[in-house]
Point group: C2
Chain length 208, copies 2
Amino acid sequence: MPLREDTRAQLLDSATRLFASRGFYGASLANIAEALGLTKQALLHHFGRKEKLYAEVLSRISNRMLEQIDAARAQYDSPQDQLLAAMQSVYAISEQSPHETRIIVRELLDSERRTEQVHSWYLQPFLDSLVDITRVIAGKQTLTKTDALTKIYPLLGAMSYFIVSDVVLEQMYGQANYRRMRRRYPDQIQQQVYGLLNSLGSGSASAE
Amino acid sequence: MPLREDTRAQLLDSATRLFASRGFYGASLANIAEALGLTKQALLHHFGRKEKLYAEVLSRISNRMLEQIDAARAQYDSPQDQLLAAMQSVYAISEQSPHETRIIVRELLDSERRTEQVHSWYLQPFLDSLVDITRVIAGKQTLTKTDALTKIYPLLGAMSYFIVSDVVLEQMYGQANYRRMRRRYPDQIQQQVYGLLNSLGSGSASAE
DNA sequence: CATCGTACTTACCGATCGGTAGGTTGTCAA
DNA sequence: TTGACAACCTACCGATCGGTAAGTACGATG
């Protein structure tokens, strides 16, 4: 099913937005097609089945996330700097396109149900890469993969949960207050990364 | 629509589980009724409309969350101890009934769509109460509500995101590793609370 | 000019969605 | 004994769901 590469990317962007705001079950093929400016049948013609369309949306997201980490690893030598840079850039792209974060969180929530999906999970390489950096910082022998993940997870949670809360926070506290929170939040993230680095044993990228 | 109080509570428990694992749109009245051991029409007879059933589920959850905080405030005098106790007990009940956390997170995700819901948000009192404790610790003049929320939010995220990830984490890393993470996670939370308390200015409930 | 594949179209399909209408049954107070 | 009401039931409703079948418009290639 060829289709010009950039047209296809545009379609997937729109689909991403719809899956993000309504979820897999909440976003119907008719909805998506309408948003894309074509008919349901044309949409099915290009992507075959709803599941396949969704799978493409998912894999684009996981690739994007993984790219951020790889870039951070390539840019810095010290694992401490790598971790900080990775977390910051993951937060940055999540902030500017919250749709992707929403989809990831929805995926966490729905995983119980849509288990027909291959057992391997889309974000596994992303998590593994972060775990790897963390273990290098601590010294690989001193920290199991699971323990490293336990250390990182609060940070991922702090980022994702805040981003996913955007609509509600703005509605509850007003636009001005919400903007202020958004301005301040990266600092919270950074401080938490410093805290994590300290608890792992020191190196460069030291705090304050 | 009277119905024995505990029977009603049982029905709402089941409904909570289904809304949690499938979402508002993914859980059909027929699904819920089947799980409850009655017909769709009987379910509608008791609750009128799907929205009303869901609203009841939501308000039960927010009440439960608020109760935890009120209990923590009543139990301790120092606001530092109150905050620590509140966070710990919120985490504890979230951990033992992850359904409620799932619903809250789904609510965050869907709020863009289901805006017919009254604008006031179910968890506002819960957040306000936490914000209040935090501001007492820092000294009310020195910390606006928004800034206090910014400080607390990473913690809420760390808790909720981890709990909501249960199925995926267990699937990805195996039951044994996941159990180990769960055993260690409360420590991560506690350390993060200590970090927050330190950044607010010291008091009792000091670290390690 | 013929033909072949792409990019659609209209016309459907059965299943399921939330919800309504109108009984039937059982319990309990008057 | 009767009447009222809660607690169901069967039988529907129109709308929408994901998906299929079969045809059409059209540009490129032989």
